[in-house]
Every structure is written in C-alpha cells, then in structure tokens.
C-alpha cells in the first residue's frame, strides 16, 4: 500500500512561444499600425510564417521531466527563479497543459498556488469561505462541516459578516490560509503559500502544514524558496535547473547541491559585450564566506559579488559601481562605488575578476535588481541598470536567529542594541 505510485510524470515538456510585446496581450491596433506602416514587410513576414521559413522564437520552460511520487510521500521542489518550478506546478494542477508528455494522478488533487484565490472584497468573510472553498474544489457539504473549524483557525469569529475589504491584511491572509488548509484531498500541490501573515501566524501555518503532512496517506508536492520550510516538511526533494531535473534525493543533500554546485548567476552567455570598446562582462558570481560559488547572498553573512571582465586592452584605475534596487518598486536601496573606498581597480588582458566583498550583508531576504556600471577615465565601459537579479537568503544577521517580519516592510537590516536604564 505504501509503495503505490500516485503521481507519475512522464517526459513532460512545456514550450512557450516568445512574443516581443509590451503587454501580455496584443492590441489589434498595433497589428494594424504595423500593417499600414510597413505593408510589404508584414506580407513578407506572414508568408514566411505560413510557409514555415520564419523561425518562431521558442522557449522550453520544461524539458523531459520524469519522476514518480509514492503514496504518503512529501516531496519538495526547489530551484532558482525561472527554473521551471511554477510551470511544473501549473501543469500538475491542470492550469496549463503540457506540450508533450503525460502525467497520471491517482486520487483527488487539491492545488494551492495562491491563498485567497477568488476572494471578493465586497463579500463577507462567511460568503468568501464558501466561494473560495468551492473554487478550491470543496463541496458545499464539506465546507459546511468544516466551517467552524475554518473560522476558529483564522480567528475571525467577530468579523464573519463584515465585507473582507474592511479586514486588516493579516486577517485577510489568515482567513485565506485557513480555508486552504482545510481542503482534504489525497494529493496536495502547494506553491510557496507559507510566506504569509505575521511571524506568529506563519508558525501556526507551518504547524498546520506539519499536521497535514503527517496525516495518514497524504501525498504532498511542495514548492518553495524557503529552505528551512522544505527541510522541515519534506524528506525528499527535487532540484530543477533550467527546465530539467538536476537531482532527486534526500532533502539535505539536494539543498547543499542547490547552494554550492549551482553556479550562481553565471550563464553560458556573456552578460554584456561591447565590441567597440573591446569589453565583455562575462559573468557575475556570488561567493559565500568560504569563497565558494553560491546562488544567493545570505543576510548577516559575509559574501562577495564577483564580475568576470574580458578585454584585450589594459585599463588602469577604473571605477566600478554596483547599485541594489528593491524588486517591488525598483527603488535604489544602496550603492557600492569603488572610489568611495579609495580602492584602485585595474583591468588586465585577457580577463580580470573584479570582486566586491560585503562583510555583513545588511539586506532582508528576497530578490533584488542590480545595476552594474564601470567607467575608465570618464568613459563608460558598461552601464547595465536592472539587468541582473540576485537573491538574498535567510541568515542570522543579529546573532539571535531572528529577522524582522517581511510585512514590517524594511529593506535593510541595521545592527542595533537595546538597553533600559533605571533613573532615580
């Protein structure tokens, strides 16, 4: 019984056609404007497309994914942003079909890609429980039988008949999670929904998740960036890298693989090249305190950003800037600029590493945009605003094992001390 395979994924691939548009959708106006501006070009393009000469730009978000999950297993799925985790989840939950391959699932599936899907601000808490429950696939009977449990877990008894638009964001999220946590399928597919609410509620959520996972025969697929949560909940983990499965195995092993062998931000392609100036920014790597290449900086730990620059021309005294912007509103958080520290940097052919070491990373865990710039005697060698993203992971900044709650909305961490003094 325990060895029964409930999810079997065979050769799953997903292809997207990349279209270069501003929005996700196309306005007929733009199509028409194009035709009018350039009728022959348009015709040529269309004939090419029709005859199959023109290549459509394709992107394989997933390629040949194969794995099996046995009944009662709790499996984590990790990988860098854009590795294809979300696409896999969307295919598993039938939101988007695979381009190739087949998945067989035995049992009732519940998928949770977001908490509060379909919540309507104008409806009351009570009404939203029913609506959201139905959207998540619960029957009315099930919802009625679990109604009291849902309400008391969320702790919103007093506000049941208030429209949720008047709820505080904490209450809203608690209610949303509570409905989701009371789904009772055989197989549960979850995407990073734990990163909600205040610290206390998060703990409660993790506790609830623990209960759910330990329940007899429940199979769970859990996608997350939160390595601690994956470690805590999943004995087994799948690492996805660039649309392929890199490794499947015990969680500890996979997480260390994710941290180290995963070659940071380096790509097969150069980040930037300028042939006129004869300069190539080949890679940007993140190094941890041991000098190992890792995929993310860690709050409170020492870390370095290392650029690999190729050139055939020696340049003395260049100035390099790294700007860090928040990913939410793209506001500049801080700038690191080599002349500020009177550090002299030299580019020597054929290639040079430029390393910026940060003794104690003061950033909150999350994603950040980097702006990279280098100048040589008032000549800009490259200027790349927001071209590269980096990730900062949970780390013990204060030496207390605690970090501020993300909902308190601070971007940086400042070391500080408190004391109280008795005045007579």
């Amino acid at each position: 019984m325990q060895n029964e395979i409930v999810i079997s994924v065979k050769n799953i691939s997903k292809k997207y056609n990349i279209t270069h548009q501003r929005g996700g959708y196309i306005a007929l106006r733009d199509v028409l404007a194009n035709i009018i501006k350039n009728p022959f070009q348009f015709l040529k393009q269309k004939t090419k497309e029709a005859t199959g000469i023109a290549k459509k730009e394709e992107f394989w978000a997933l390629r040949d994914i194969n794995f099996e999950v046995k009944k009662g297993e709790v499996v984590g799925i990790i990988g860098r942003n854009g590795a294809g985790k979300s696409t896999l989840l969307k295919i598993l939950s039938q939101i988007t079909p695979p381009t190739e391959g087949e998945i067989k699932i035995n049992g009732r599936v519940g998928s949770l890609l977001e908490v509060g899907t379909g919540f309507h601000p104008e409806l009351s808490g009570r009404e939203n429980i029913f609506l959201n429950g139905a959207i998540l696939g619960m029957t009315k009977k099930e919802i009625v039988s679990k109604f009291d449990e849902i309400v008391s877990f969320a702790g919103i008894e007093k506000f049941l008949d208030t429209p949720v638009k008047h709820y505080s964001s904490g209450m809203y999220v608690r209610l949303a999670f509570s409905v989701a946590a009371h789904m009772d399928p055989d197989i549960l597919i979850i995407d990073e929904v734990l990163a909600v609410g205040d610290a206390e509620f998060q703990k409660k959520c993790l506790g609830k998740m623990d209960d759910i996972t330990k329940k007899e025969g429940r199979t769970i697929l859990f996608v997350s960036h939160n390595m601690d949560a994956v470690k805590k909940l999943c004995p087994k983990t799948i690492l996805i890298h660039e649309g392929k499965i890199k490794k499947i195995g015990p969680t500890e092993e996979i997480i260390s693989e994710y941290h180290t062998s995963n070659k940071g931000l380096s790509h097969d392609q150069d980040i930037y090249q300028d042939k006129n100036l004869d300069i190539t920014l080949s890679q940007l790597e993140i190094l941890n305190h041991e000098g190992k290449i890792v995929s993310a900086l860690q709050s409170g730990h020492s870390g370095s950003l290392r650029m690999l620059i190729k050139t055939n021309q020696k340049r003395d005294s260049i100035a390099v800037t790294i700007g860090i912007n928040s990913i939410q509103d793209d506001k500049r958080i801080c700038v690191m600029y080599s002349p500020l520290k009177n550090d002299t940097l030299t580019l020597t052919p054929p290639q040079t590493y430029i390393t910026c070491q940060i003794p104690k990373v003061p950033l909150m865990p999350g994603q950040y945009h980097l702006t990279l710039k280098a100048t040589s005697e008032n000549q800009t060698l490259f200027y790349l605003p927001g071209k590269v993203d980096i990730e900062v992971e949970n780390g013990d900044f204060f030496g207390s094992g605690k970090l501020p709650d993300p909902s308190w909305s601070g971007a940086i961490l400042v070391d500080h001390n408190w004391q109280s003094e008795h005045l007579k």
């Binding site: 035995n106 609506l131 696939g137």
Partner: protein
C-alpha cells in the same frame, strides 16, 4: 479542483469530448457559486440594490415609448407601444447583457483562471445564468403591464417561454464563448462590442415590428433574437399567430451559434492561462 474520478491523466489536450460535459456536471456547485457571487456582488453597496435590475428596462421603455411610440409613431402591431416594446426589451436586455458580460468573463476572472483549474466553460455559463436572474426580476414589470392593459397570454405561449429563454441563453452563450476566446488574445473586443451590440439592436425587432420588413421578414429569422422576440409578442400580446417555422429557423440558428462558440472556445481554452 476536485475530481471524483480516481485516475486522472494530464496530457496535451485537443478538442471537446464527452469528458467535458461530465466535468461540468461535477462542478455544478461551483457554477452555482459563481452565479451567486456575480449576482450578490453587483448590488452590494448600492442604495436601491436589486431594484436596479428593474431600472434599466423601465427607463428604456419610457424613453422608447415617448420617442418612437408617441412622437415617431412607429407601428406596434396594434397593441399599446409600451407593452410592445417592453417584451422586446426584456429579451433583448437579457441577450445583450449576457453577451457582453460573457465576452469579458475570462478577463474579469483572470486571477482565478491563472491559479486554479476548473472547466473554463463554467465561467461563461454562470455569467449567462446571472443574467437569467435579472430577467426573472424584470418580468415582474411585464406581468404588471399585462394586468394594466388586460392581456392574457395563451397557454401555448406560456409553454413556449422556457424554449424562448433557452434559445436566448444558448445564443448569448455561443456568441459569448466565441468573443471571450478572442478577447483573451485581442482586448479590442472589449471596446468594439458595446458599439456592435447597439447596431445589432437595430437589426432586431426590439423597438419596431418585424412586419415592416414585409415579405422579407423571414430573413430576420436567421437572427435568433428576432425569432425569439417575435414569438414572445405573438404569445403574450397576440400580435400574430405563432409562427412555428420562424421558431425552428431561429432555434437552429442559435444551436449553430452555440456549436461554433463552443468549438472555438475549446480550441483556444488550453492557452488561456498562458496568454490572458
């Protein structure tokens, strides 16, 4: 996404199959909840609430009666113009509201479509169903008008009502499915549609009688709403004997619209979450 079926296979999907109908049946509760939500949300935080469902047809009736009935003297097959135009408006409003809301149903529910699976057909169907509730409410006025003008519908007419509603339902759904599929990719639909619905009203005998088309009035039957409205008038107001051929043509036309709409919808459905 509850599936009562024990084994589920996910693979590249192509077309409509029997399983789709099975699935919709399994999700009938969700269909009910969506309809209930749309209806409930619409009149939340409004002062007169559900009475708005009456406001539009009544106002239109008054304005049309004044300008077309009184001032322009549009013939109304020998019945008082207000009740004549109200029967037309009742069905027309159901059709046009349903058509335009259905076309937008996927976009307005974008956040749900990209996060949860359920048979996508549920959304358009529930949207039309919501409008059916409005129709029910607006019918109260018709009953009042019939009492006032002393009209008694004939029995066959009353029996025909479900058929007329069904025809309007599937015509609006079919057109809505077709437009919704295009709307996911080309948002132009959203802007053009109100204009076309207005034009469409003028080629449907809502404010005039189909008799003005003379011996070519049968051509109008290919517009299912034309058949529906003419038959409704014949049944409730005895403007003419019930024309069974007309009903048949309109019925077939609406079925064809539904089939085309469903095929297009099913063909494009699998990309909705990717391109919406």
């Amino acid at each position: 996404m509850a599936s009562t079926a024990q084994t589920m296979v996910i693979k590249p999907k192509k077309t409509l199959s029997l399983r789709d109908f099975q699935e919709i049946w399994n999700h009938r509760e969700l269909l009910y909840f969506f309809t209930w939500r749309d209806f409930k949300v619409r009149y939340k935080q409004t002062f007169i609430g559900v009475a708005w469902a009456l406001f539009q047809p009544i106002m239109s009736m008054i304005v049309f009666s004044l300008f077309f009935g009184k001032l322009a003297g549009v013939p109304s097959d020998g019945v008082p113009y207000p009740i004549f135009v109200y029967v037309g408006l009742l069905f027309w409003q159901f059709f046009s509201d349903a058509l335009s809301d259905t076309s937008n149903s996927l976009i307005t529910n974008q956040s749900i479509v990209t996060k949860v699976y359920f048979p996508r057909l549920i959304l358009p169907i529930s949207t039309v169903a919501t409008k059916l509730v409005d129709f029910g409410i607006a019918t109260i006025i018709l009953i009042g008008l019939m009492f006032y003008y002393h009209f008694v519908p004939n029995m066959i007419g009353l029996l025909l009502l479900p058929l007329l509603l069904f025809m309007t339902f599937i015509a609006a759904l079919g057109g809505g499915l077709f437009l919704a599929s295009i709307n996911v990719k080309y948002r132009d639909v959203r802007y053009i549609l109100p204009y076309f619905i207005q034009l469409f009203m003028f080629i449907t005998p809502v404010i005039y009688s189909s008799s003005i088309a003379g011996k070519y009035s049968w051509v109008l039957a290919f517009n299912p709403m034309s058949g529906v409205i003419q038959t409704a008038r014949a049944a409730f107001l005895h403007t003419a004997p019930i024309n069974w051929l007309l009903i048949l043509i309109s019925f077939i036309a609406s079925i064809i619209i539904l089939i085309i709409g469903t095929i297009v919808f099913k063909k494009t459905e699998r990309y909705f979450a990717d391109i919406i």
